[in-house]
Symmetry: C2
Subunit: 203 residues, 2 copies
């Protein structure tokens, strides 16, 4: 039997690079200690709306049925994605949101919500288009599911050579932001609700 490590859903709107973010996470799992991963995207009638979502399963063994029912980790980069997928998050799961795109309107008991202004951070690098890789870096820091070096290598592997430097900077920016947030939480004690560097807690 396969042993599942983790199920992840990433969702947003078209053009935000949802699929590349999912692929980087899947690839990192395979790079790190020879794990396995699948990334699946299903397209149906809702595809027309410009929304985009992808599922990633990380496992210690080859994966036979790559379907995510209840993700352990949900990464959302649009309000529509939040509204649609937040109810599916596993109890006690981790919700990661693009802070300026998503207004979190309810928090389940035990749920941890980590927020990052990824679009703004990407704009600081001069290219909004790398917000997805900022999110991947942040995901790496707050979930600690994958080896950071494997994630970084997966980023470099997944973009054209001319875009590597920019994307690695975006990864580092997201990772550092997440690390600072986790550091702050450790110092201030655990909390539920929405956690961000300015510690807005909505609930």
């Amino acid at each position: 039997m396969q042993r599942l490590l983790s199920e992840i859903r990433i969702a947003g709107f078209g053009g935000q690079g949802v699929i590349l973010a999912a692929a980087v996470i899947g690839k990192a799992a395979a790079i790190f200690e020879g794990g396995y991963a699948t990334m699946t995207q299903a397209f149906g009638p809702e595809a027309r709306g410009g929304s985009s979502s992808a599922q990633v399963i990380l496992s210690t063994n080859p994966i036979l049925y790559p379907y995510v029912a209840q993700p352990d980790v949900l990464v959302v980069m649009s309000q529509e994605a939040y509204t649609r997928f937040a109810p599916q998050l596993k109890p006690g799961g981790i919700l990661i949101v693009e802070q300026d795109m998503v207004r979190v309107d309810q928090v389940a008991p035990g749920e941890r919500i980590y927020a990052i202004p990824a679009t703004r951070l990407a704009e600081q690098l001069g290219r909004k288009v790398v917000l997805n890789i900022v999110m991947v870096g942040f995901f790496g820091a707050v979930t600690a599911l994958l080896d950071p070096d494997a994630l970084r290598e997966a980023v470099a592997d997944s973009v054209p050579p001319a875009m590597q430097a920019l994307n690695l900077k975006a990864f580092d920016k997201g990772f550092e932001y997440g690390s600072r947030l986790m550091q702050k939480l450790m110092e201030e004690g655990e909390a539920e609700g929405m956690l961000s560097l300015d510690l807005e807690v909505e609930a």
Copy 2:
């Protein structure tokens, strides 16, 4: 029971945009007359090599098990991808190759091979990175599996706004190249082997 329309594999090396190309094709199926599609990428020990491949299934119904065993269409953008996946192509299937990246060394009876210098065409647009979308355009023209307008819409939907114009040009370039090739083949009669606009036939 689901009715499968077509199974497609796209493969190349990391950074060529294999996944985005697969996602565009999947999305086009869903846009056009409400079809369904899945795009799956599996990551295992081979992920470290920098190779990249994705599977797309097009269907008239929701897809339960998104696994491609023998693709009807194989799109390859590297020699390694050709060597690895060409033996899996369904008899009578369509092989689409990046002409400068892949040396086709054998042709099965009844197999049609369509070649395009997608990287060079992308470079003519000033951005090699859009070679994947040139390939998608070419795929659209030579397979006629999907409505060209749906494919074009899926391209626009799948890239950031700032990149839309460039990617649509890339799509059109690939599509026109494919249309010219198909026109030439109609005029000159069907042929087996490797088909390109300068009609190199290797076999």
